[in-house]
């Protein structure tokens, strides 16, 4: 599952694995168009534009449509933001209203400076 995502990544990511130029592979798990999900998506888009310009790839996964992924990716809370790359996997749950915590969670805080 995850390996397919790695493939989609441009080769430069592998060269500079620990560098800050690594593209973030993000997934936002939602379950239908709930208010929380919509808020989370809005917040996330804002954070990405402000702090991760051009260095991220975002997939929004609606578990109502693909419930199997909830089990495969160990999703329990909704909404959940998962950083699949770079490793290790990180999970941020909630509506992502606290930008600082989101950045800490994604380990990209330094980029904001």
């Amino acid at each position: 599952m995850r390996s397919s995502k790695v493939k989609s990544k441009p080769p430069q990511a592998q060269d500079t694995e620990n560098s800050k130029d690594v593209t973030l592979e993000l997934r936002l798990y939602v379950a239908g168009q709930t208010p929380k999900s919509l808020i989370a998506l809005k917040n996330l888009k804002k954070i990405c534009e402000e702090h991760l310009q051009g260095r991220y790839r975002l997939h929004v996964i609606d578990l109502v449509k693909t419930p199997q992924l909830a089990q495969d990716d160990q999703i329990l809370a909704i909404p959940t933001l998962v950083r699949n790359l770079p490793q290790p996997i990180r999970k941020i749950i909630g509506d992502l209203s606290d930008t600082q915590r989101v950045l800490v969670g994604l380990d990209v805080r330094s980029q904001a400076k």
Binding site: Y29, A31, T34, K36, I39, A40, N43, L63, V64, P67, Q68, A70, Q71, Q74, I75, L76, A77, I78, P79, T80, P88, I89, R90, K91, I92, I93, G94, D95, L96, S97, D98, R101, V102, V104, G105
Partner: protein, 580 residues
């Protein structure tokens, strides 16, 4: 579906108030105490401390449902991965993976790793619902197990949200008519650590694992079962080779079949005391006695006879090893080895302290299921009594019920203390048994002798005699009852008594002889006396005759003399008359 509705209809037709629908768990014993299983379509909380068997119960509920009742299930674990779970139940002969492959079971392991998760703002557990929904739909599940759902409390910080979600979860399960088992850890002073029982009001089952005198016992109690009657006691349960079993397996019912067939005790004389035909088949026999009174020998006779007549016997020895028993029994002419080799006699010896009572019971169950014996001998049950008496009583009752249910004749031996009433068995199981043979030692004149009597034997006119029994090289023999007057004599006292009686008879004979002689002597004496008297009498008579003769002679002479005198004096007779 169609089947289910048909069942509902028949139930409704037979009762004005249809009973709560129940979902059979398939767990041995559990369906009996709950009158049919868990509440169908409702959640049940299964709570207990660590290691008390919650998961095992839940797993078996699920697996039996999938394999025996055609109800697919979903297993959602929060603590163990599916793989670990599979391995755990593999030892019980369940293959989770193959069930999952056949779409009878859906396994989902929910991994919660608090260190991986960052909370930012509001969230809910919709993911859990999505997963459950997906799982239920993909196998068409009727049963769900959540093991242990409380784990989410350690994974997420917002407990207010969690409680709301749990409430929603239970509602969700109920709405979909899923028979659910939710396991929960016992809390301090509460049934569950996070108070889950507040949300589930249908059925709460509590499991417990406690240690008494170094022996552990597992227990189950149905704390609540809304809308249904249920056993309220604590029931011991076991996790054995074949899974979970709650005992009483059958002690709720009291309706075993009875047989009129008889089975010989192996001792002819004893059979004679029991209407000449022995015990009833499927009955229970208690042999009690003091130590060394011959209980095991009696049991061995029974085993021997059973095997000789082509039946199978199971001999459970708690005191001696099988080799020891067979060796000892050879000394009374019983060769058990031949039957062991033929496989008709199975010996199992283990220490009573080796397990808890329930494990003993389960082991016997398993053995009986494996060997299908017609006779089971437990020698002795006394040593089980290290535990609580009421527990032993309950355990033996279950064992007896189980054996009776299968028409197996059971013989138990029990040791009675030398002092105290012998009619009182320590476990008080005498009331449970059908036939009670009491062996006792009579101590008299410097020796002990064995006596046997049948204290009771339900359903037959048994002998009321106390019989002496003797262990010889050719087995047990009962001596004929002593029918003389006075008390019962045994052993040498008996011999002495018999000798004494013989001597008495001889003496009497001699006395009679003497008397006879004495009398004849006396008779001769008397006879001689009579002869003497007679001769005396006759001599008296002749004397008297002589005197009479003398007197008449003298009178004649006197008359002559007087006449001559008158002639001389010349006096006429007339003058003479006037003068005088």
């Amino acid at each position: 579906m169609a089947r289910a509705s048909k069942r509902t209809k028949t139930v409704a037709a037979s009762r004005a108030f249809p009973e709560l629908k129940k979902s059979r768990s398939g767990i041995a014993g559990f369906d009996e105490i709950t009158g049919g299983g868990l509440p169908a379509g409702r959640p049940t909380i299964l709570c207990g401390g660590p290691g008390c068997g919650k998961t095992m119960f839940a797993m078996e509920f699920l697996i039996r449902g999938a394999t025996e009742f055609g109800e697919p299930g979903v297993l959602m674990t929060f603590e163990e991965t599916g793989e670990e779970m599979s391995r755990n139940v593999e030892s019980l002969g369940f293959n989770l993976q193959s069930l999952a492959d056949k779409k009878k079971l859906f396994l989902d392991y929910v991994r919660i790793e608090p260190s991986e998760i960052q909370e930012t703002g509001e969230y809910d557990l919709e993911g859990l619902f999505v997963r459950l929904q997906h799982a239920v739909e993909s196998v068409g599940a009727k049963r769900v197990v959540l093991d242990t759902v409380e784990a989410i409390f350690s994974g997420f910080g917002n407990s207010g949200m969690l409680r709301a979600e749990i409430r929603r979860l239970f509602r969700w399960l109920k709405d979909r008519g899923l028979t659910t088992v939710i396991t929960a850890e016992r809390g301090e002073g509460t049934l569950t650590r996070y108070g889950l029982e507040e949300y589930v009001s249908d059925c709460v089952v509590s499991l417990d694992h406690r240690v008494n005198d170094q022996i552990s016992t597992r227990r189950m109690r149905i704390v609540k079962y809304r809308g249904s009657s249920h056993g309220t006691d604590e029931y011991p349960f076991l996790i054995g080779k074949k899974g979970f079993s709650v005992l009483p397996l059958s002690s709720i019912r009291l309706d075993h079949k009875v047989s009129k067939d008889r089975i010989s005790s192996g001792i002819k004389d004893l059979d004679t005391m029991l209407e000449g035909r022995g015990f009833f088949k499927g009955s229970s026999i208690l042999v009690s006695g003091t130590s060394g009174s011959g209980k095991s020998t009696l049991a061995a006779h029974f085993a021997n006879e059973t095997c000789r007549s082509g039946k199978r016997a199971l001999y459970i020895a708690f005191e001696e090893s099988s080799a020891q028993v067979t060796r000892n029994m050879r000394s009374v002419g019983i060769n058990l080895d031949q039957y062991i080799q033929k496989g008709v006699l199975k010996f199992r010896a283990w220490r009573p302290t080796q397990h808890g009572l329930e494990s003993h019971l389960l082991r016997i169950h398993d053995l009986v299921d494996e060997l299908h014996p017609q006779v089971v001998i437990v020698d002795p049950i006394t040593n089980l009594i290290s535990a609580n008496l009421t527990e032993v009583h309950a355990m033996l009752m279950r064992l007896l019920d189980f054996l009776k249910d299968r028409q197996i004749t059971a013989m138990f031996t029990t040791l009675t203390a030398n002092r105290g009433a012998e009619e009182q068995t320590e476990v008080g199981i005498s009331s449970l048994t059908d036939t009670w043979i009491l062996l006792r030692d009579l101590e008299l004149n410097g020796e002990r002798n064995r006596c046997l009597y049948v204290l009771k034997s339900r359903g037959m006119a048994h002998s009321n005699q106390i019989r002496e029994f003797v262990l010889s090289r050719t087995g047990v023999h009962l001596l004929p009852a002593y029918v003389g007057s006075g008390t019962v004599y045994t052993g040498s006292a008996r011999l002495a008594q018999e000798a004494r009686e013989k001597a008495e008879a001889v003496r009497e004979q001699q006395q009679l002889e003497e008397k006879r002689k004495e009398f004849s002597l006396r008779r001769s004496v008397l006879e001689s006396q009579i002869a003497a008297l007679r001769s005396e009498l006759s001599s008296g008579e002749s004397e008297f005759a002589r005197l009479t003769r003398q007197r008449s002679e003298r009178q004649q002479r006197l008359a002559l003399d007087r006449e001559e005198m008158g002639k001389i004096r010349g006096v006429t007779r007339d003058n003479q008359g006037v003068n005088s």
